[in-house]
């Protein structure tokens, strides 16, 4: 099996789909001739031509609007929004058109559009290159919301997304592109080649939506997280010596409620962690569901770790990023005697 980082795995997914399905096309800013600012589409325009790997103007509304039209016409567009921070000009197209096309046309039309977009901080990107807006999209009925945390899942989930007949917003935690990052910026970077999830098959395989990955089995408490925070949570629990069950959601919509609830019922304690801002974040939905489903099994209040309710700062990136120390505080609170 090949060793790939997450960028190579995503590139491999798109390559495999371009090759196997002539209706798949890629579009986005700088994705063709240049190969993408993160190199995710490197070499694909050379291989499949300008008709299938299309450079677009810097106009996110137009990218998504055009993708919707192509999809209704029978193609499977994979649109890249260069940073999730720039997705908002296309937001109206996503919410008002893409998400509800099937509903509005009573099933006559549908749009198999995949929107790939890098998200999250930790790369000195400041407020305009660090956002995690997944919760804005999970709130919209009619779109699936995915966020992988490793190369293997990234490729399998992206193929599932492209093959899905309905819209998927596919968030790529950019800090994880090159290696698993546990939240300590002072440590030497770790490449994916050292991690089992950096082993990625060539060709087509799928990771299903709606199925969370139990990254670690444990009995003391459940940590529910996704994206970059999977590794942060793992480090935080390990450094406290807590036997945590760590759940990587991978798929936010549809959500694997069964895995979440059976784990919380088992441990009776829960920490929810995401990098996105806290207020009305996706964690709030997780807490609500756990409260509804697992109330009588809870030994302690559910804890929530998230980014602060401010824009992502330039200068105080590591004060903003919910690193292992903040997750550790939440773990301790969730482990209070019961």
């Amino acid at each position: 099996m090949a060793q790939m980082n997450m960028i190579q795995a995503l590139n491999s997914a798109m390559d495999a789909m371009l090759e196997s399905d002539p209706t798949v096309i890629l579009m986005g800013e700088d994705i063709g001739y240049f190969g993408g600012v993160f190199r995710a589409t490197e070499g694909l325009q050379r291989k499949y031509g300008e008709q299938r790997v299309i450079d677009t103007p810097i106009a996110e509304g137009a990218i998504i609007g055009a993708a919707i039209g192509m999809a209704v016409g029978g193609l499977r567009p994979v649109a890249e929004i260069q940073f999730a921070d720039y997705i908002y000009p296309g937001f109206d197209q996503i919410v008002s058109e893409l998400a509800r096309l099937r509903y509005r046309s009573a099933g006559d039309f549908f749009a198999p559009v995949t929107i790939r977009t890098p998200c999250g901080g930790g790369i000195r990107g400041g407020q305009t290159h660090s956002q995690s807006p997944e919760g804005i999209f999970t709130h919209v009925s009619g779109i699936k919301v995915i966020m992988p945390s490793n190369p293997y899942d990234a490729k399998g989930l992206l193929i599932t997304a492209i093959e899905d007949d309905d819209p998927v917003v596919f968030f790529e935690p950019k800090r994880l592109y090159n290696g698993p990052f546990d939240g300590d910026p002072n440590k030497a970077a770790v490449p994916w080649s050292t991690h089992p999830k950096g082993e990625v098959p060539e060709g087509v395989y799928r990771v299903p939506f709606g199925k969370a990955d139990v990254v670690r089995n444990g009995s003391d408490l459940t940590i529910i997280t996704y994206g970059t925070m999977v590794f942060v949570a793992t480090l935080a629990a390990a450094s406290l010596g807590v036997d945590a069950e760590i759940i990587d959601l991978r798929s936010l919509v549809p959500l694997d409620v069964d895995t979440i609830c059976s784990s919380v019922k088992k441990t009776g304690r829960c920490v929810v962690a995401h990098e996105a801002t806290r207020f009305s974040g996706f964690g709030a939905e997780l807490l609500a569901i756990i409260q509804e489903e697992c109330f009588w099994d809870l030994e302690a209040p559910i804890q929530r770790v998230a980014g602060w309710d401010t824009p992502y700062p330039h200068a105080f990136e590591w004060e903003y990023f919910p690193g292992p120390a903040r997750v550790g505080t939440a773990i301790k609170a969730a482990m209070e005697p019961a």
């Binding site: 009776g268 109330f295 009588w296 099994d297 809870l298 030994e299 302690a300 209070e336 005697p337 019961a338």
Partner: protein, 426 residues
């Protein structure tokens, strides 16, 4: 009749024309704070015991009756002091005289409560602090969190506190045997077990049945070799994990078939009217040993069920009886009872009729025995049926004929399942 701030809770009508109920155990004692809907007393009617929830939140001022006492429906059971009325009516406790409790007794109850725990006095103004999981544990253990002292951070009740409360819970009115325990070295020569609850009911009903019913006992041996072969075959066709078939459902089916010819045995005797009520459906009572004692849950219209469904139904009613989950209607209404001691079945027994029925069929142990068959000794599986009949209404001849018919079905098990009417069947 109650003073301001008091709530007199009367013994509720628990249905089916209950006129009185027996106190089984109290979950609260005078001085305790209870929450609305918290189980406060277990009472028993007929054969079902019921946990009665508190109708209001408040402090228990007095209770009527100790375990074993019968309290009439509608008579005062518990007097509560409603929360928040403490400061406005300091003389309220003395007004609790309807239940016969003196002011002095109440004062001592109140002082016991206040020395028992500071948590409980705080609880009048503050919510009990504990996790949802502990609230569930306390509810399942029948423990009032108001009576638990929290040892966790900021006085919170933690899991161990509930375990401790569960261990140390002493029931008001419990026999004083342990209180007066002498030095650990010398064990007491006697201990007293009050005959209350289900045990008293069993005792009463057994005495009544034996006193009123002239029992006619009849024992016959049945060759169940074929039945055993059928049973073994049916079990071998089942998935490994499936519950295995016992003789019981097969005997019940054969009995249902038999009773079509002997309707005089599928009867409930209405002594008041002097009427024998014959039933066309057979409601089979399944004598079941439970942790509390003998219960007889009922499988309704057993003849309407195919074999496996009947087996499942028998298991289900017995399991509910054992775990105290039988609905009231499942513990009454049988028209004939089957009793089986399984491996303890012995050679013969003299079962006591489950009045007002007129017959009971007992299964003894099936064992391989040497028998003479066609002039030679053969090894056959033999099971005795020990039955009792109410000789007032079932003549010995009919009783014997009925058991012979049942025997014939069991010795030719295919005939149990053949739909054509057998001779004598309507």
């Amino acid at each position: 009749m109650s003073a301001r701030g008091e709530y007199v809770f009367k013994m509720p009508d628990l249905g089916e024309g209950t006129v009185e109920a027996e106190i089984v155990r109290w979950y609260a004692k005078p001085g305790d704070l209870v929450d609305e809907d918290q189980a406060i007393v277990e009472v028993m009617t007929d054969k079902a015991s019921v946990e009665v929830p508190a109708p209001v939140s408040g402090r228990v001022l007095s209770v009527t009756g100790t375990p074993g006492d019968k309290v009439a429906v509608g008579s005062p059971l518990i007097v509560f002091e409603l929360l928040g009325s403490t400061d406005t009516a300091p003389e309220t406790p003395a007004a609790a005289s309807p239940t016969g409790m003196t002011g002095e007794a109440l004062a001592s109850a109140a002082s016991t409560a206040s020395t028992a725990s500071t948590a409980s006095t705080e609880a009048t103004t503050k919510r009990v602090m504990t996790s949802p999981a502990n609230r569930r544990r306390a509810r399942e253990a029948g423990i009032s969190l108001n009576n638990v002292v929290g040892t966790g951070p900021r006085g919170r009740i933690v899991r161990n506190d509930i375990a401790a409360a569960s261990r140390s819970r002493t029931l008001p009115g419990a026999p004083p045997t342990t209180a007066a325990t002498p030095a650990a070295s010398e064990a007491p020569a006697t201990s007293e077990i009050k005959v209350i609850g289900l045990r008293r009911l069993i005792a009463e009903r057994m005495s009544e049945a034996k006193r009123n019913i002239p029992h006619f006992a009849y024992v016959e041996e049945v060759d169940v070799t074929e039945l055993e072969s059928l049973r073994a075959h049916l079990n071998s066709q089942q998935a490994r994990a499936a519950a295995t078939l016992t003789y019981l459902p097969l005997v019940v089916l054969a009995l249902v078939r038999t009773l079509r010819v002997f309707p005089q045995c599928n009867v409930r005797y209405d002594a008041e009217r002097g009427v024998l009520v014959r039933y066309s459906p057979v409601h089979v009572g399944i004598a079941t040993q439970t942790p509390d004692g003998l219960k007889v849950p009922v499988v309704r219209d057993a003849g309407s069920l195919p074999l496996w469904a009947l087996a499942a139904a028998i298991r289900a009613v017995a399991e509910r009886a054992r775990t105290n989950k039988s609905p009231r209607e499942e513990l009454s209404g049988s028209t004939i009872t089957v009793t089986s001691l399984g491996k303890l079945g012995g050679i013969a027994s003299t079962p006591v009729i489950n009045a007002p029925e007129v017959a009971i069929v007992g299964l003894n142990k099936a064992v391989e025995r040497p028998v003479v068959l066609h002039g030679a000794i053969a090894v056959r599986r033999i099971m005795n049926l020990s039955s009792s009949f109410d000789h007032r209404f079932v003549d010995g001849h009919d009783a014997a004929a009925m058991i012979q018919r049942l025997k014939t079905y069991l010795e030719h098990p295919a005939s149990i399942f053949i739909a054509d009417p057998s001779p004598g069947e309507s």
